[in-house]
Symmetry: C2
């Protein structure tokens, strides 16, 4: 028994493990077993179940340790997405740093001297702030795959274009949800005081109480451990106390501005597919042999949207 303990225990983490390994998942669809599991569903996906990242809405955050890839969803925050791309394109973040890593909460980067008018980095073409985009109108052309289990924070939840989202059908509004890996723009006390000069990514249990309080417009689709495993800051709110603790940003780039040969070719499982709907069901009711009890429900942020690397750029 002992010999097989580790590999068998692995089944507990099957779902997440598969997502982590999806980059090297089988090219050849496997036959669908009688009892679908996350692994069997992913193995049986068709090429059309996946979509390539749009280079114009993909950001690279380059650190000494490697590259973090972020997918933007401008539909939920067009002004913020455009402004962050403008900041990226004028080199605003290059040479700035990650200044805050708060355990079970967020990683945040921007200008460590932002509070000092004499030292802070100048903004040339982009805007220092843009109006808040906490939610938007529900629209017919905005796809939505609902989660039937409900939610504690929103009247309705599901996925739009690969992003976890909440909706209020009565108010006809929708918004992105704070799940692990979500990208947002920090702000001050005033709703309109952000604009992308300070960006954060969730690295802990979903802080869903922030939904509709911050503008969200992206998520990390590759390299998240480069952020989540950073040393935690020991100052208030997880800010690094010493300048030398800050993690330098080599560069941020829009993928479209990087030579095609230097881009990471990634694909995301489409969330408007039967494959993704099957995957939700497989996570509501775990069929892997390891499970003794199946919850019969699943929470929004416990259904990560799979990402995989492809051999050649899919453009």
């Amino acid at each position: 028994m002992r010999i097989s303990q580790r590999s068998k225990e692995g089944c507990a983490t099957f779902g997440l493990a598969v997502f982590a390994m999806a980059a090297t998942a089988a090219e050849t669809p496997a036959p669908t077993p009688a009892v679908p599991t996350t692994a069997s569903i992913l193995a049986a996906t068709k090429p059309t179940d996946w979509r390539a990242l749009d280079p114009e809405n993909t950001l690279y955050l380059d650190l000494a340790a490697g590259r973090v890839v972020i997918e933007l969803l401008p539909e939920f925050a067009p002004a913020h997405a455009a402004n962050v791309k403008a900041l990226v394109r004028e080199g605003y973040y290059d040479g700035l740093s990650i200044n805050r890593v708060q355990d079970n909460y967020v990683v945040q980067w921007g200008d460590a001297d932002g509070e000092d008018e004499t030292k802070r980095r100048a903004i040339r073409k982009a805007k220092p702030t843009v109006p808040a985009e906490f939610d938007r109108a529900i629209a017919a052309d905005l796809p939505f795959t609902a989660l039937i289990d409900g939610d504690l924070y929103a009247p309705e939840v599901g996925w739009t274009s690969g992003f976890a989202a909440g909706r209020d059908p009565k108010a006809a509004r929708t918004w992105l949800a704070h799940c692990y890996g979500t990208l947002g723009s920090a702000r001050g006390n005033e709703a309109d005081s952000g604009g992308g000069t300070e960006l954060f990514v969730v690295i802990g249990h979903a802080p869903r109480h922030l939904d509709r309080n911050i503008t969200l417009f992206g998520r990390v689709v590759h390299g998240l451990p480069l952020l989540s495993s950073l040393p935690r800051g020991t100052g208030a709110l997880g800010f690094y106390e010493k300048p030398e603790q800050r993690v330098p940003i080599r560069a941020m780039r829009v993928a479209a501005d990087v030579p095609a040969a230097e881009r990471l070719a990634l694909e995301v499982l489409r969330t408007d597919t039967d494959a993704f709907r099957s995957l939700i069901e497989a996570r509501r009711n775990r069929r892997e042999e390891w499970f003794k009890y199946s919850a019969g429900h699943v929470e929004l942020c416990n259904v990560p949207v799979p990402v995989r690397a492809v051999e050649t750029p899919a453009r």
Copy 2:
């Protein structure tokens, strides 16, 4: 505006920040403001709202980087808690290592050679396995502070003795919930195949689908960043691929076996107090100035139970 942006943005993280800073929280109760917040509630707590850790149910996991402190709750898994203490006391874990760090999931430690019958560490007095303790009977003497917001995974949720727990009143059963920092015993496919030789701590979004599938019996109350910021393993399930990547365990100790002067004096906010009930409410409805929208609900694992350091051991 820019100058104050960082400090104001801090309000977004007020709740968690306060928990992080509770170790140095004011000794003098502050006057209760008209609108209670997490900060004001903690500042107004009485000494009797807190309880000292029981040294006999406190474990120290000592790494080169520092000490992780774990509180055990034997009431939910007496056989596992006793066996882990027996393993600790025979020095089983000393010199073993953290072998698995899976992003947004778990850190796991034990015998990296556990699969090799010729090399694995011998167990002397403790048991290699003990029967599963996935849940237990609800009992009148087991305190329970209910969360009125409900839950997707359990008929009823709340807190027992400082631990997040689920309950099924119809079946008269209760169990601990997988929140950030929860300690459990890994197992193989058979329910009774664990026993504490492989321990794990949750370092990601609460994997509540594991509830009632694994025996849980503790939580990290200090030093969690020493685990959550470890480099992620790049092997399947987050196992480190190279032996030199493993993180050595200097020692595990029962606090009662450590000289009193060398113990960390920690106190946990009692979850059967009005202070904790006020804190739940303050997290359901955020009153800090930063918030523009208040959820009116909160999820079980989004109410961390505060821990603070005290100047002198409270025994």
